[in-house]
């Protein structure tokens, strides 16, 4: 049997599990709405502010949870990825709040729930990431786009 035939049968086997698993299950009434309890930033290079460090504590007091530092280059893009807890939260959509008039950066919300921040000049972007079903659940993060010597 050819390699492509074996692979195709393998794919059909997976489809044979997924299709009845999604559209063939007995109906259940799920009364429970699972609200977002926690938002975790999982972007590469994301660091939480450390309360034990005197220079970082004020940031925590301001409600800023962490930061991402990048070296500024024209057109620098940083993708913000978040994970929601619980995994099966009913409404997984996030909203991003930021300074829309900023000349330093602009934000594009992507279809897959992430957001891309594009820096036009050096500076800091402060973003609040909020759950849409539970506005109390949010995190505020900073993204620094600075010169190399800043680090």
């Amino acid at each position: 049997m050819k390699k492509s035939v074996i692979l195709t049968i393998g794919v059909i086997f997976i489809i044979a599990i997924v299709v009845p698993g999604f559209i063939g299950l007995r109906m259940r009434v799920y009364n429970e709405t699972r609200y977002v309890e926690e938002i975790i930033c999982i972007t590469e290079g994301y660091t939480k502010y450390d309360p034990s460090k005197p220079d970082e504590k004020p940031k925590i007091d301001q409600g800023i949870e962490g930061y991402i530092s990048e070296q500024f280059t024209p057109g620098l893009k940083v993708v913000i990825k978040c994970q929601l807890k619980p995994d099966n939260a009913t409404n997984q959509k996030l909203e991003y709040a930021y300074d829309e008039k900023s000349r330093v950066f602009s934000v594009t919300e992507n279809a897959d729930g992430t957001a891309t921040i594009e820096f036009h000049e050096k500076g800091t972007a402060t973003i609040i990431i909020r759950a849409t079903d539970n506005k109390k659940k949010s995190i505020e993060i900073e993204i620094y786009a600075m010169d190399n010597d800043w680090f």
Partner: protein
Amino acid sequence: MNHLKTLVVMQLRDKIDLGWIKNKKEALRKVILSLVKFLVITAIIYIILSLCNRFGIFLYDESPRIMVLVLTISLVLSFISCTVELMKNLYFAEDNRVLITLPVRANQIFISKIIVFYVYELKKSFSLLIPISLSCITLLFTQGYCSFWVYIWMWIPVLFIVALPVLLGAIFSIPVLYIYRFLKKNAIIEFIVFLLVLAGLIWLAVYLIGLIPENIDLINQWPTIRNSIREFLLLVEQKLFVMNQLIRIMIGEKSKGGAFGINFLTMGKFAILIGVSAVLFLISYFASRPLFFVMMAKNFELNKSNKTNGKNKKHGHYLTFVNKEFKINLRTIDISINYLMVYIIVPILILLLNAIYKAMDTRELGNWLIYTFNVLLICLPLLASNALISTYYSREGRAGYMKKTKPIDVVYPLLAKLFFNILFSIPSVFATVAIFGRSVQFHIGDIVLFGFAILFLHIGHMVYSATLDIIHPQNEQYATTGISIDNPNENKSTGLAFIISIIYAVVAYKLLSEASLYNNDLTIGFVKLLLISLVIFGSNLYMFFKKIKAYYYEIQG
């Protein structure tokens, strides 16, 4: 160089139908058709990947992880098939004896064989590896994660990546050759190895069934499943370092902004890839070339043994051919393994599938889908395995023409070739149907009816595949090379296997759901399915006899 080119083209003509090249109209038609086929495959894969992205299985910039996974599977399978096929093609090919007489250097023959395999691997990559890579790149490009240059650049590394399994296969064909010869000389060890592989497969199936959770609720468990898939893809990217680097050579490095682009690091890695390919070529050249010459120069006439064991027995007309086929089937490991693997794997596959279904709490639609997918997955591997049947008569090479000289009806030897396949398939079909029937609690009578329906469908397609080989014999290809890596009959048989299986599954869904709705009894549905199978079987058998009459008696006049 000209000699090498001639050698490559000559061998390619034996393996791939290149008749269309000289005819401009035919060439244009072939190119357009191939292009459309390639674009359709790419578009389908793109849609599937986009859906996976929408379901959150991976984010846009994570699509290279899919490429790493596909490249790994593709290269591993290519490496296995190249090793086995190159072993046969380099050391046992019938055309070696002809090629050695040509006024070319022996080195050129060796290199030409490697190039022919490389061209064929390149052709195969257009059916899966390249469409998936292009789809992933399109996914990245549409979201601004890579530049348009990647579309142009990716073709260059692909040329080298595809060469890797061929070159590795040429090197590994040497130890495989020794193992193959050792097993050929020691039939008992060969049988023990086969039993061990079989036991391993059964153990794997039992192990997988043991892993199935008691309750599968994909909707409720989806977030957890999705996260597990994403973690798995991340693990794939992290652990398969070499494959990850190969993909990086194709699409470039990830910048801090998340976009992929070709830079100096990519060029450096590409240079390493070229270096590795060159080293592999040199190793295969210096390691397998001497062995190739020894095997090629072996006098095949001295290989024949004139020893006879015992007295000749006189058998009846039909029994003589059955006896001959029995011996051929036992002695040709490729054929007997293909039989046994398919006929053993199909029941295991269905057992695994139904163990998963058992853990699902399905409604009526779910039950019908379970029946339909069971029918599809029983038919697909069974019918697809018949592709081998479409090569049976041609495999005899020039000896196949001897059938015409025998003073008997040619139907006897032709049908005898199918005898063992039919014989082995009977227990497998009924075991598979019984596994399915018992897990969905069909009546025993329905199971028997369904078993016969599948059996007649299987034999009907088997006879069709055999008819293909009668209508378009490939005896010359097998006579010259010993193998035919792009047999059009195999392709047609496989294609029809997919079409029949899908249509049959849909018809089964319709008939069984109607029988349950209007008669509250599935038996009528199974009877109708059996009738359809009988019609397919009957019409193919009729065509088989008609074609035998036409091609063995009337055409030769």
